[in-house]
């Protein structure tokens, strides 16, 4: 430190600056205290409260103590702060009043006056007390009095301006205390002085700044003033505040430049616009670049000088603040900013000068940062410095280009002149770096000295930049620098070195789908590959470029011609083929098969039409376009049948191929996650653990080669397939855009053909599409001829003409003229021949080929259908009318009865199942010309009618009713209904009672016919009848042939009435009407109407004395529970078999309800005696009691009453179910034999007069 006695040294602007404190008074005393003081003062921090709301700071104070001199005090207007004495201290150890009065007081007064004259108010008086001194001088006044005096004399109301320091050199607690108090006072005073003086300075500074719009204001002057403040802050170790001052200056200057650019020029700024003459870069190795500072002070600095100086100061402060990375960042901003500002201010700069300046500055900054950081720090902060590196690289590159150092030939004289000029602007190397081997200055000078040196430096820098970019994951930037490098290599004619960089960059652009960079890089790559003689790669790149829409038409044509000229050059020598991917040459858009379902029969012609979209800018003559086809014998034969053909029709037979994806990258490769499993292997003998490990189960996924990495640009390994089956098309000219190419092939072997590769040949160049996706195939089939016969409608109706469709699928058989189908006639089915039967011939794609007249010849047994001639794989379709004849009449007695019963039952069943029609099947055997075997075809016809009959009686008169029910959907017309007795019994007559024919019978409706049966002699027990009616479709129009009538045969039996049953209910005697609850009498009279007949001859007949009698059982049943039968309701009577024999039965019945009540039913049964031959017999009473209900039920089943239905056998069957003792049997009389004369009769029953209600429940 400066000794206090030493003369004031000149101000040195270094870090060593400390605030100045002057010392007056006893110099010896101060000298003795100084060491302790300078040591103690900075020991403890003091809080500095700031004005303008700035945050308070803890500050360690240091001071530069200098001897007080009047010259030190600043004169008015002197703004220097560094030399400003912030505090004045007067030291005295006077303890003698006399001495005080004699000398000290005067001295003090003088000192005070000087201070006052300079209006300095920051002063302090220190009185040092010394015990030793006190003891020596015994007559002294108490010490306080001196201090009091001083305070009294000088510290007017500011007694704290006088401080006592006791025994400062001793080591006692009192000394310590007094030191602490003094130091606190000293620090406080200093800070107060700072606050006050700096505040005042700042105010002045602001005032100065506000005057900046006035003419004559100088930025440089102001710069010096504010920098003074920065210096003070720096002196106080407040680097942050110091930096703020520079930043403010920086911003102010920048704003002026901006305003200047906007036309608001400041006069002083024009000075900075002087041409740049020196570009020696930043100087950061000195804390303060005095040279530049003086230039600024003298207002001679250029813009670059000012910026350089400002940045060097900022850099210094940032480094003090341990923020080297901010230096790097600001440096980049500064360099960019300066370049912009020079442009904006239109400063004339020699070409390359700025590049030199930037290059030097970049390296200077980097070296400065490296100088204050260790390797690890630098490595972990590459992100901050890499910008400077690449900037330097860029600038060196442009310098190289400027000075002709990159060309193959080396620099020419003009280049050399330029280089000399540039080097001149650098000036001499500065002394700080003169000894450094790698100084930026030396580097630049060397790099510009020769081509080789430039290359070395440029490569060094480039590689360093690439490496740094790569290391922090800035791959794109690395590629970009790499591309510059590639350009450099290309200029240097070393394409082999350039290639790798271009490929790397291109891969990157392709992966991310950046079209323009791809095109640009590809163009460079093409040039590179051309120089390298990589024919295949060059051709591929050329084809890509020729199809690239980002290039101009001319460029594309150029690359296209490159391919074509290569192709034409190579045609003479049969060299190897060059296989290139097709997609860059042309794109397969769609493919169309004819026939459209892509199925063709053996020998058929298939054409494949493809749309190839040429990407080339000009027409290209292609020698051959081929499609490789893979053949496989397909097991799935169904696909090749004609049926499949007709059913499966592709929409239009066109297959569209997805357009090649434009350079949209695939989504980022998502590698599958590792699948790890533990693995334990134990010894088989004792199960101890042998080995253990971890198994990755999806190694095959993880270690798979990334296809995209190679297949993007390099020859993509397209393998040319050579197959036996090839579709070819020669001599095609592909115009730009869509081209249609048609391949024709004749199908040979049946099987499936898959289209594999598409290949276009131009000379030795093969453009190959290795896989067609989606897969495309066509099928070739062979088929046997086939005949199908099917009805046109849902079902065929019997009895009327119906249409049947014949389909002949010719398959591989060719139908010749004269080929015919031989139909063996079925008996009951006619094939109706029309004159104009036409056959239509279709191709197998259902396209009508022709039609021809059908020749049908019928003989008794065989119908021959002459087929029209038809080629193979066609279809012949025609329709024939067939007529199923109604089934032939059934003959025979008993069998017919049974048959009718069965058919009757069948009808009943079908009726329940929903009115189904009876069906008949007809089988036709057909001989086809292509086969020695006959084809048998069954046709099912439905009978549209159902017929039922019933016998109606009126006393002894008999009627036959026939009901015809139409089950079909068609309406028919019925005519000529006839009922005849086929036996032609002369005694019988059938008298029709029908309406006039014809009659309409609509769908699902019925028509009834009735005949009266009359006879002259005793009628036979049974009568066979045949009903026939002509039927024709109501809307059928004129029919070609007369239709056979519909017939129905049946038999009526026992139709002759034997018994007349008459029942009568009489009111009780004496009353007029029956009453409820009162018994009435029921009179039943059974009258025999005929003498012995054939039908009576059965077991019940007994003969005695020529008289015949039979046993009958009667039974009175009231189903409607109207009557209560009292007493026996049934009984067995013996009936004489003679006309007019009458049997009367009297019974008591009681009406249960009032009103007109129908009479109870009276039933008659034949009572057959038990017979050993019969396994089951019934006792009358027990039968009635036990099976009364079953009888009732049986009666219920036939609600429509009697008639000719043969129920006997049915009843027998049901009776047979009974098991048990031999009993007499009951046999119901056939309904035609019993006539109930009183059926439908009603009796009036009036309610009884009694109030009470009789409740009788009869079940």
């Amino acid at each position: 430190m400066d000794a206090p006695e030493a003369p004031l040294p000149p101000v040195i602007y270094t870090m060593e600056n400390k605030p100045i404190v002057t010392c007056a008074g006893d110099q010896n005393l101060f000298t003795s205290i100084y060491p302790t003081l300078s040591q103690q003062l900075p020991r403890e921090p003091m809080e500095w409260r700031r004005s303008y709301g700035r945050a308070p700071k803890m500050i360690h104070l240091e001071s530069n103590f200098v001897q007080f001199k009047e010259e030190l005090l600043p004169k008015d207007g002197n703004k220097a702060l560094l030399t400003f004495p912030f505090l004045h201290i007067y030291w005295t150890e006077c303890c003698d009043t006399e001495v005080y009065k004699a000398t000290v007081k005067d001295d003090l007064t003088k000192w005070q006056n000087v201070l006052k004259a300079h209006s300095s108010v920051d002063w302090l008086i220190v009185v040092v007390e010394n015990d030793a001194k006190k003891k020596n001088k015994t007559n002294i006044l108490p010490r306080t009095s001196i201090v009091d005096k001083i305070r009294n004399d000088f510290c007017n109301k500011q007694s704290d301006r006088c401080v006592v320091l006791s025994d400062p050199l001793k080591d006692s607690s009192r000394t310590q205390e007094s030191w602490n108090a003094f130091l606190t006072k000293l620090r406080t005073s200093l800070l107060m002085s700072f606050t006050k003086n700096l505040g005042k300075f700042e105010d002045d500074m602001r005032t100065l700044r506000e005057k900046r719009t006035e003419p004559g204001w100088s930025f440089c002057d102001y710069f010096m003033v504010q920098e003074e403040l920065a210096f003070v802050f720096e002196m106080l170790q407040q680097f942050e505040d110091a930096l703020v001052q520079y930043d403010e200056l920086d911003a102010l200057f920048s704003q002026y430049v901006v305003n200047f650019g906007a036309g608001d020029g400041a006069n002083w700024l024009t000075f900075f616009c002087q041409p740049v003459k020196s570009w020696n870069g930043l100087i950061l190795r000195k804390p303060i670049d005095m040279e530049k500072r003086e230039l600024i002070q003298r207002q001679e600095a250029t813009l670059l000088d000012l910026r350089s100086y400002l940045f060097s100061r900022q850099c210094t402060l940032l480094l003090f603040l341990q923020r080297p990375w901010e230096v790097a960042q600001r440096a980049l901003e500064l360099l960019h900013g300066c370049v912009q500002e020079l442009k904006l201010l239109e400063v004339s700069v020699p070409p390359g000068a700025l590049d030199c300046w930037v290059f030097l500055s970049c390296l200077e900054v980097l070296q400065r940062i490296e100088g204050c950081c260790d390797r690890a720090q630098i490595d972990s902060n590459i992100a901050h410095t890499v910008g400077l590196w690449s900037y330097a690289t860029e600038k060196l590159k442009s310098l190289g280009y400027l000075c002709g150092l990159v060309s193959e030939k080396g620099p020419d004289s003009e280049d050399l002149n330029r280089t000399v000029d540039l080097l001149a602007g650098l000036g001499a190397e500065r002394p700080e770096t003169a000894n450094t081997a790698q100084s930026p200055y030396k580097k630049l000078k060397e790099a510009l000295s020769s081509v080789e040196a430039f290359e070395k430096h440029y490569l060094d820098l480039s590689h360093a930049a690439i490496e740094m970019h790569t290391s922090i994951g800035r791959l794109r930037s690395a590629k970009f620098v790499g591309k510059d490098l590639a350009e450099f290599y290309m200029r240097k004619k070393s394409p082999q070195k350039a290639e790798v960089y271009l490929q790397g960059a291109l891969k990157n652009y392709l992966a991310e789908g950046w079209a323009l960079p791809i095109t640009h890089t590809r163009k460079q790559l093409a040039e590179c590959q051309k120089h390298l003689g990589q024919t295949e790669n060059y051709l591929q790149t050329s084809s890509l470029l020729a199809s690239d829409h980002h290039l101009t038409e001319d460029e594309r044509k150029h690359f296209c011609r490159e391919i074509l000229s290569f192709a034409s050059r190579q045609t003479d020598s049969p060299g190897q083929k060059i296989v290139l991917p097709l997609h860059c040459f042309a794109q397969l858009r769609d493919l169309h098969f004819t026939p459209s379902n892509a199925v063709v029969h053996v020998g058929g012609v298939l054409s494949v039409e493809i749309t190839l979209c040429s990407q080339m800018p000009m027409p290209v003559q292609v020698e051959q376009v081929t499609i490789n086809v893979h053949f496989s014998i397909d097991k799935n034969n169904y696909r090749k049948t004609a049926e499949w053909l007709t059913k499966h029709k592709t929409s239009n037979g066109t297959i569209n191929f997805p357009t090649e994806t434009s350079p949209l990258p695939a989504p980022q490769n998502n590698l599958p996650a590792l699948e790890l499993y533990e693995m334990f292997e134990r010894s088989p003998s004792d199960n101890s653990l042998n080995t253990t490990g971890i198994i990755c189960k999806n190694v095959h996924m993880l270690l798979r080669r990334q296809e995209s990495s190679t297949s993007l640009e390099t020859s993509s390994g397209v393998a040319l397939e050579d197959g036996a089956h090839v579709l070819k098309c020669s001599g095609v000219t592909l115009e730009p855009g869509a081209n249609r190419i048609t391949f024709r092939t004749q199908a040979r072997e049946p099987g499936t053909y898959t289209l594999r590769q598409l290949c276009a040949s131009v000379g030795p160049v093969r453009f190959v599409l290795p896989h067609l996706y989606p897969p495309v195939q066509y099928d070739v089939y062979s088929q046997e001829p086939q005949l199908r016969v099917e009805p046109l409608a849902d079902s065929l109706l019997a009895g009327i003409p119906q249409k049947v469709k014949f389909t002949v699928t010719t398959g591989h058989y060719t139908v010749k003229n004269g080929d015919s189908l031989q139909l063996s006639n079925a008996e009951a089915m006619l094939i109706l021949c029309h004159a104009e039967n036409r056959a239509v011939i279709y191709s197998n794609t259902r396209e009508k080929a022709s039609d021809a007249l059908l020749r049908v010849q019928s003989s008794d047994k065989v119908t021959s259908i002459g087929l029209p001639a038809a080629p193979a794989y066609h279809m012949i379709e025609f329709e024939l009318e067939v007529l199923s004849l109604p089934s032939a009449p059934v003959t025979g007695g008993e069998s017919s009865v049974l048959g009718m019963t069965e058919s009757h039952r069948k009808h009943k069943d079908t009726q329940k199942a929903g009115q189904c029609m009876a069906t008949t099947d007809h089988k036709v055997s057909i001989d086809c010309p292509w086969s020695i075997y006959s084809t048998v075809i069954a046709l099912t016809f439905s009978v549209p009618f159902r017929t039922t009959h019933s016998l109606l009686s009126a006393g002894t008169r008999k009627y036959i009713q026939v009901c015809v029910q139409n089950l079909s959907e068609l309406d028919f017309e019925l005519s000529d209904g006839h009922l005849v007795d086929p036996d032609s019994n002369a005694d019988l007559r059938l008298v029709p009672l029908n309406a006039k024919s014809p009659q309409h019978i609509r769908s699902k409706q019925s028509v009834f016919f009735v005949w009266e049966l009359k006879w002259t002699r005793e009628p036979p027990p049974s009568l066979r009848c045949r009903f026939s009616v002509g039927s024709s479709p109501a809307s059928g129009g004129r029919l070609s042939i007369p239709l056979k009538p519909y017939t129905y045969e049946f038999q009526v039996e026992n139709f002759f009435t034997l018994y007349n049953v008459r029942a009568e209910i009489l009111p009780p005697s004496g009353t007029e009407h029956c009453r409820t609850g009162s018994l009435c009498s029921l009179e039943v009279s059974i009258t025999r109407l005929s003498d012995l007949l054939e039908v009576d001859k059965d077991e019940a007949l007994t003969e005695s004395d020529e008289y015949f009698s039979t046993k009958l059982m009667y039974e009175v049943v009231d189903n409607s529970s109207n009557w209560a039968v009292c007493g026996k309701s049934s009984g067995v009577i013996s009936m004489p078999v003679a006309a007019r024999a009458t049997h009367r039965v009297h019974m008591e019945v009681m009406p249960l309800f009032a009103g007109y009540l129908p009479l109870p039913d009276v039933r008659l049964f034949k009572y057959l005696p038990h017979h050993s031959a019969h396994s089951s017999q019934l006792d009358a009473d027990s039968w009635i009691e036990s099976d009364g209900l079953s009888v009732d039920k049986h009666v219920d089943e036939q609600p429509d009453g009697g008639g000719g239905r043969c129920r006997g056998s049915a009843h027998l069957a049901s009776g047979g179910e009974h098991r048990g003792l031999p009993m007499p049997r009951l046999q119901a009389l056939p309904p035609g034999q019993v006539f109930n004369a009183s059926v439908g009769t009603q009796v009036l029953v009036i309610p009884s007069k009694d109030d009470h209600v009789l409740e009788v429940s009869v079940t």
């Binding site: 650019g261 970019h469 800035r474 789908g513 950046w514 079209a515 323009l516 829409h549 101009t552």
Partner: protein
């Protein structure tokens, strides 16, 4: 006024890129592509810290001598990159932010268009505005067509540069 605007898909391919002086298109493409390095860096550095704050603006990606490149990333990791002329000192952070917000709104509109397939390149309405001081984006009418034709400087560009109905001086 921006000299280049780019919308970049999550997978880093350009959805929309448009620059004002078309003769320098390639340079801007390279610049925007390279800037993705810094975008990636900023996104990963931002990490979780800024997710909550929903700060989408990435700030200055990197300056070059002549241009400043700014970045912005949507929540779905679609990046917007804007290149601004360095000499244009009128553009401060706030202006850049508001430009990005407008861009984001336009982009959102595009995404809302039911005829737009996310991931397809975006085309903007209007023809090539050769006039200097071009406006950037007002409305975008994306079409589903892939970029097929059109070469720099030849005929109307399929990315058809938007033409503003009225000049915007703020940009």
């Amino acid at each position: 006024m921006a000299v280049c605007v780019a919308v970049i898909a999550k997978e880093n391919y350009p959805l929309y890129i448009r620059s004002a002086p078309t003769e320098n298109e390639l340079k801007f493409h390279y610049m925007v592509h390279t800037s993705l390095d810094v975008v990636d860096e900023k996104i990963s550095a931002m990490g979780k810290a800024l997710v909550d704050q929903r700060e989408l603006y990435l700030g200055l990606l990197y300056p070059t001598e002549d241009y400043k490149v700014y970045g912005y990333v949507t929540n779905s990791k679609v990046k917007f990159v804007m290149v601004v002329d360095s000499s244009n000192t009128a553009l401060r952070d706030n202006e850049i932010r508001s430009m990005f917000r407008k861009l984001h709104n336009s982009y959102t509109d595009v995404m809302c268009n039911p005829f737009y397939n996310p991931g397809d390149r975006i085309q903007s309405s209007g023809s090539d505005a050769a006039e200097p001081g071009f406006p950037v984006i007002t409305t975008w009418i994306p079409t589903c067509e892939k970029r097929m034709g059109g070469r720099p400087g030849h005929g109307p560009c399929p990315l058809g540069f938007p033409r503003m109905p009225r000049p915007l001086t703020a940009w």
